[in-house]
Amino acid sequence: MNELNQQRRTLLKGGCAAGIVTLAAASGLLVPGRVLAAEWSKSAFEAKSVADALKGLGAADVATSSDILIKAPDIAENGSMVPVEVTSQIAGTQSISILSEKNPLPLLAAFEFTDGAQGYVSTRIKMGQTSNVRVVVKAGGKYYSAAKEIKVTIGGCGG
């Protein structure tokens, strides 16, 4: 009888601990792990050509769109810090990816939007040389793209 009781206590303890972990996960207390769960697309970011980068992103049948606005300087004096602002006016924009076509690794960044985030991103990028900056937008499961040429006076990738 005593021994049985002991087992029961152990079981209770174990069950309780497991319960706390489940509760913590459910209530979002383990936020950092969950937030950074998104995978880093190695095949896309390590691709050396625009075509391979797009393939890595899963982008196929990309249609040219005038509803993607790229705000960036025509001439960048310093290729290591080129400001780029992208606005997608395509309804239901799910993601925006930015590529510099002549960089050694063309894909610079991919942004995914959920829960009220607008299809807008502003950042600063490095460009090795004068090139098209291409933006690829995913909306409603389809892919759209636009490009703008930026002339680079001093490249910002080499050393």
């Binding site: 880093w40 960044a109 009220g116 807008y120």
Partner: protein, 104 residues
């Protein structure tokens, strides 16, 4: 280095503009050290997650060609004063940083 991150928020109606400035060297791995001639090892932020009240609204993947000390501007609808904006990043060496700001 790891504790430097600035978050600015601006609310107009329910449209929230978020501006984030992170401190990071963002080395591509393709740059050579002028003295030694050796490549400087890659060291860059790979994942950034921006949350509103604990819910991720923007998840970003980056390569090494985002400029040093990255700037990120975003827009979110449906926000209000008192909302919490969180930013988490992780780099290719597994270093992490996070910061939080309250919408004023």
């Amino acid at each position: 280095m790891a504790d430097m991150m600035k978050i600015r928020t601006q609310l107009s109606g329910d449209a929230l503009a978020i501006k984030i400035l992170m401190a990071h060297p963002m080395e591509t791995g393709q740059r050579k050290d002028a003295k030694t001639g050796q490549f400087i090892p890659a060291h860059f932020i790979k994942n950034v997650a921006v949350g509103l009240n604990g819910k991720t609204v923007v998840a970003a993947q980056w390569g090494g060609a985002i400029s040093k000390d990255p700037f990120l501007g975003l827009k979110v609808k449906g926000a209000k004063a008192g909302d919490k904006v969180t930013v988490n990043w992780e780099d290719n060496k597994g270093e992490k940083n996070s910061a939080e700001a309250t919408v004023g």
